[in-house]
Symmetry: C2
Subunit: 460 residues, 2 copies
């Protein structure tokens, strides 16, 4: 039966035609209207950001976010809501980091740093050493052990400003952060400082995951990010005097894995209940801000997809799940766990959509799928044009849904405007005040519309 929960939809019924004979154009227009005038995403995000706050895997915030997510999904009257247990890493930052540049003994300039996620602590009194600035691993190799041993390696390759899509600029830089310690440790470096992945010049350090791979514990060196302004300063000071020293102290620790959860809600399909279409983002965030853009936005938009479908009275053909994935930032355990159990249970997943690029004005989607399905998506472009959704390209989708990839699934990622994203990414200013309500809501409606179309027309 077609139900109408909200007055708005009821009104639409009375003055136009019943939902079951509405055109795709009309249904999509209603998704946008509902999201913009009667949506829940902004209020949800306000709560998640301002009442719960940061939620790094294993933290109290992450636990609270799991409880909140389950409770809110239960309120939507879905057919099923549950928690999927998953063991996650627990890394804690400890006391606020401290760092300075020492141009001569006693003459110091304090700079802004933060430990990279996964890094070991410095000795209790901190570490002070000469600095070697490099821009890539080739420079590091060319310098060799002689020039590096005992020193702090300073990776200072900036994000490339003339790339239009900022994610490409990030992709061209982030190996410094993720692999910088492994590479520097090869030559006996004492520690690593990485220029923040930020296109702006400002004072905020941006954290993010790093790895030691299989380095023995005693070879693991402390790694921190430095703000872009301070990276410029350090570089300038080194140019003037190679003997400048850098000091920093951090007390972060990797603890034992702890139990956490993916939060999952489902509307059971009316025709193909055993074929699954999923939408999600990641519930965990870094600890410096409150994770409003990364990825609180994706969480509340994904929840809104199921709410809008439910409220519309449309009975989806396929089973549609919203998944609030745990631990994207430093482990991807949630995404891996979900895919693993889906395979064990033989659950056939045909479509997955992720939002994990911030809550900015949506521009379109990136699709990881075969030509037949991509061409079907392209045929829907005219339906999206009134909403200025124009970007339909092949490419990556999202980290959390990546493990679901096989030959028969369509993976898609929402692509919002990317210009401001790295101003906030993994930094203390990724907070609710950086969210624009309409931009967030437009994203939710855009995702709902794509989910509706894939459900209605099916995956080829």
């Amino acid at each position: 039966m077609v139900k109408f929960k909200s007055t708005f939809f009821l009104l639409a019924l009375l003055i136009t035609v019943p939902v079951f004979s509405q055109s795709d154009e009309e249904i999509i227009r209603e998704f946008y209207k509902q999201s913009l005038t009667n949506g829940k995403s902004f209020d949800w995000l306000n709560y998640l950001s301002n009442q719960i706050g940061s939620r790094l895997s294993g933290s109290l915030g992450a636990e609270k976010a799991v409880d909140w997510g389950k409770e809110e999904l239960e309120k939507l009257g879905l057919d099923n809501v549950w928690l999927q247990p998953v063991m996650v890493p627990k890394w804690v930052r400890g006391a606020k980091e401290y760092a300075f540049i020492e141009s001569e003994p006693g003459k110091t300039t304090t700079v802004n740093i933060c430990a990279l996620g996964g890094s070991v602590e410095t000795p209790a009194l901190g570490i002070k050493a000469n600095v070697v600035e490099v821009h890539n691993f080739e420079e590091l190799e060319a310098l060799g052990k002689d020039k590096i041993e005992g020193k702090i390696v300073f990776y200072n390759r900036p994000m490339q400003a003339d790339l239009i899509q900022t994610h490409e600029a990030y992709g061209g830089c982030v190996n410094q952060r993720y692999m910088g310690a492994v590479e520097a440790a090869k030559y006996g470096a004492a520690a690593v400082i990485v220029r923040s992945m930020n296109l702006r010049l400002d004072d905020l350090p941006h954290t993010g995951a790093m790895t030691y791979n299989d380095l023995p514990v005693e070879q693991r060196i402390p790694s921190a990010a430095i703000s872009t302004n301070d990276a410029e300063l350090l570089s300038t000071m080194l140019e003037l005097d190679k003997n400048v020293k850098f000091y920093f102290k951090q007390s972060c620790k990797q603890l034992k894995d702890v139990q956490s959860y993916n939060v999952i809600g489902e509307i059971t399909g009316s025709e193909f209940p055993n074929e699954y279409m999923v939408v999600g983002g990641h519930l965990d965030s870094w600890d410096l801000g409150d994770g409003s853009h990364d990825d609180g936005a994706g969480i509340v938009q994904s929840m809104e997809v199921l709410r809008l479908i439910k409220e519309s009275g449309i009975k989806p053909k396929h089973s549609i799940r919203v998944i609030l994935f745990m631990n994207e930032e430093n482990g991807l355990r949630g995404g891996e766990k979900y895919a693993e159990e889906a395979e064990q249970k033989g659950e056939k997943h045909v479509f997955a959509l992720e939002s994990d690029s911030g809550g900015f004005t949506p521009r379109g989607f990136s699709f990881d799928c075969d030509d037949a399905n991509f061409n079907m998506a392209l045929s829907w472009e005219p339906l999206f044009k009134p909403y200025l959704i124009h970007y339909f390209e092949k490419g990556g989708s999202g980290a959390d849904i990546g493990p679901l990839k096989n030959d028969n699934i369509v993976l898609a990622g929402l692509r919002p405007d990317s210009q401001r994203y790295f101003d906030y990414h993994h930094a203390s200013n990724d907070t609710f005040d950086a969210i624009n309500k309409r931009e967030l809501e437009l994203g939710a409606a855009t995702m709902t519309s794509l989910m509706y179309l894939f459900d209605k027309y099916g995956v080829k």
Copy 2:
């Protein structure tokens, strides 16, 4: 002769091919690269916003902005830079406005208002009266003189949230602000309060132009904008009690017209020096913020168009002018003056481009022209696709260039993302911190590319 001023362009010459054999794709790529890596727009706007600040026509700020604009254009080495005198209205706000809602004698709640531009002051002790809430002029007419005389008319029709382009929502509301006093005065209203033209709920009143048309001086009633939060509050209180009173006091004044200037810079055309292509924005701003989005952004982007063309070494075929128009906000005298003198001198204008919709991520252009030229512009879409510029539609262009309209000119307006624009428009938060450097620079490069193409291929 092809000149190369910047190292970047010189490098491009050395490692690739001379500019005169570069493809459109290569030249446009270079415009974007230069704007994003070596641009002047952000630094210019920083100065205009933070060192000069607000610049309402006739104010000291406007005078300083004229001097600054001329000086900066002169530094670019254009062929000619001059000031075009124009008489402008001078309206001053006076002391900060004050307002409250009185639910019963002595029980008041302070609310946030600001005088509308052009309004008369209240009596020195302010004005207090009962309130009639309406949503449009039809409701006003239906109420009639009996119910309105001596009362404050409160226009409270909100911007329509489900319109995707916020300028449409503005267009559907702004008659309340512009014509509200004229309409209310017909029925003997004592004053007018208008809900701010803002899609957000917040505490900031948004000013903007209003008119009295030819109303005799004694019938002119004071008019103010109220913040959206306070409009909601007032409406709720009126619902509970129709006898709620509203008090406000403002001491704004319309003074005599004063002399000001359009600032103009020109590169003389190499083939058609007597055919003009212009780009511009408006130099004046409202007085509450510093006018960074409205329209400091358009000013510095327009200046950047000439700078990028000049630096590229390309010799334009047509004479290209940048115009920093004075008095768009409350008179349009600059735009009218420029068009009037152009006609007197018989200057043939073939293309005009305006940026006056904020410094947000550019999405494309709106064209006011015939089909032949519109189709030519459409044929350039592939050149813009790498920069995510996708919006090519017929529609309005810009207020300042509007007076140039005739059958032989192509008018165009830059269309940036509009979602955040009315969060800042005419309010105290339209300040430099709301500007994103990359978004501003992308807009400048997008405008430069369109100017380059129209100059190269000519107007049909």
